[in-house]
Symmetry: C4
Subunit: 236 residues, 4 copies
């Protein structure tokens, strides 16, 4: 017999955002957001971050819509269902929650992170018509799950942006299915998505990919002078 006290915080009928496990996870997501903000990989309310709470039924903890990510706290994290809709009485989730659900399902991921850096935005346009670009030969690639040598070419697909999130979720699912070995993708003129088997791995993937984006972007700019003006490279 269930006692009248059975509706405990975090229990079946309680507020699932009050459980100790959720609080830990929400603190971790908020800390991740503030850290990325301080690195310059998100600005203002851009970016969204999620972590799987349960798989059956599928529930994700995810950043609420429209909050300043540089000041995010656990209160800015809500729970969405398998459709990306926030549970009863919670603030609205990020409009991109459906994309997180698509990625979690396709990759069996436990965490999905979306940053919005200058370099990833720039490269998403630069290589947009080609549908992606390869990053090759860097030691840093070893930080991607399953990669054990720098002698690897990581293809980063670029997907056209859309305001129809359901259609976009289908595009993402199709690309991920077609390219099962990719660790990330860019939305054109929009930003970077990556994921991991846990939040720690997903965070490591962001760190690695943002590094590689910056190296790739700056290499292109520097290459111009290397070819045209190799004799003045040191300015003397």
């Amino acid at each position: 017999m269930r006692s009248r006290n059975s509706q405990k915080p975090g229990g079946r009928n309680g507020d699932p955002r009050k459980s100790a496990a959720f609080v830990r996870l929400a603190d971790n997501l908020a800390d991740t957001a503030r850290g990325f903000y301080s690195r310059g990989w998100i600005f203002g309310t851009s970016g969204n971050f999620s972590s799987v709470v349960s798989r059956d039924p599928l529930r994700l903890a995810i950043t609420a819509s429209g909050l300043d990510k540089g000041r995010l706290t656990r209160d800015g994290i809500v729970i969405v269902d398998e459709n990306g809709t926030a549970l009863n009485s919670m603030p609205r989730a990020s409009a991109e929650a459906a994309l997180h659900v698509a990625i979690v399902r396709n990759r069996n991921a436990s965490a999905v992170l979306h940053t919005h850096s200058v370099w990833s935005t720039l490269l998403s346009e630069r290589h947009g018509d080609a549908g992606g670009f390869a990053i090759e030969g860097y030691e840093m690639l070893k930080g991607l799950n399953g990669i054990s040598t720098h002698d690897h070419a990581e293809w980063v697909p670029i997907i056209e942006n859309s305001q129809d999130c359901d259609a976009l979720a289908k595009s993402i699912d199709a690309v991920l299915t077609e390219l099962p070995n990719t660790h990330a993708f860019l939305l054109r003129r929009h930003g970077l998505y990556t994921w991991g088997k846990d939040l720690e791995e997903a965070r490591r993937h962001i760190e690695i990919l943002e590094f590689l984006m910056e190296v790739t972007g700056r290499t292109a700019a520097a290459a111009a002078s290397a070819v045209a003006h190799s004799n003045v490279a040191f300015g003397d």
Copy 2:
């Protein structure tokens, strides 16, 4: 009959800077300034920030003149009247207070923020002769008030700089009236102005616009090598 106790702090005859509401607002403005300083969008004493205290009569809380914005506290915020003049016995307001008043009136804004970043300064000169430039197709544009798709071209007008603040206020008013849909403008070789229906929205606009300025500025530099040296883009 008014009692002898009627001259309360914040009351008609008290120091309006002592009221709890003003203290909250001044703390928020100072926090905003220090945050922008840490992002590199203002340097030294540059930049000024305001928020509407009352509309009738029009009173703005605004940064005082000549203070180091990276160390700003609530004590660096003063109140100006509808002419941009600091109220009795307060330190002198930023010389650009009249521009804030003009923007508040033209846009019915509740907050006006002026940053002074490297990228906005650079673009204000680069596109100065053209009188402005468009930023187009970025997801980040959706963070601007009223914009619901990335498929938007935001025109950023550039206004010639002047030391005659009254004349400059008139130029700004004319440009804003001519271009009622703009969210911001640049003063040439001077910096960025944006606004919002509250301080939070204005702050979000700065975050978005500074991101877009940096992307626009870096894209131009990278484009040079993409065209001239497309075969060495990855340096191998």
Copy 3:
């Protein structure tokens, strides 16, 4: 008659680094150094910072030699005499103390700050053969002492670097005498020197000049693509 207790800390015969006035000043210098480090304008042990303690005899508080500026505390500040030599029993002062003395005398300055940023180093070489360069038309120039309009051309002289600090001090004195209106100079491939009537003004000068160095350096890089590829500036 002086009592036996007259040798107070900070008194004529006490440790002048123990006086409350010196502690305030040393804290301020150390705070300035850590702030510039966090902005990326000094690296490691580079940079040195001074403030006048007395004019007759001339005594400067200045950073000691070889300390990590990102971790500087008041204990890293020593006092030098009119020759730039540390007073008895204090750690060795920065080898560039003689340059600070030369500047203080020539400009009647009360504080001298020397940063070592990437952009000032780059420009010091780029315009080294020309002996300097002008920065013109920026609103930010108004932050320099005595400048009241953006319609100003600030000449930044570049002086050849040397390990003979006495000779270098003479070169600096000659340039400052020849160019009485300058607010700063660069040592070639070495860094930026500026000063002020107090530490606050000198710090403001560094903020303004480092901003203008970055704008000037980035404008040159961006200008390349503006001319050659004006049709691809927005990448679309």
Copy 4:
């Protein structure tokens, strides 16, 4: 006669990671890592840092494998033997521990630091085919041990990257023996290694070298426009 209390923390049979000396050293290494992360010279789990604990037998304190360097604490520091293998019961050391051992032996160094910055990665590829590049004429070079003038050309050798750490250690040893005056080297598309007679000197070397890498990288990009468009360098 040894008492039963002889197995003190830090003693022969105790946990050497509990000794006060090790705790100080581990705190210092972790602090160094977090500082470099905040400067943007390492990302995610990249980079590794060591300091000699004893010379006979050779023992190094070194970062454990796979930890987030931006959040590193003393618990992330382990001890390795002369083969780069972690002592009994400790977490696995960085896979590059063998490289640290090789450097410590060849240079009689007491600390080895490996960063992974954007600029060093970019230059390691740009000058990779040439086997290195020279950095010449900068005042900052004086911060390298034994260099007393800016009039110095520092050769930075570039070594091909490899996943065979023993082979890589031999390559490094050979290059260091052939070039006894170098203070650092780059692994191609991988990062920067430097060292010092103590951790403080090694940290200073990183600060100086990362500065010089950024200056060298940016100078090349800026040089392109200086040659091709010298008449628009100031954009007016």
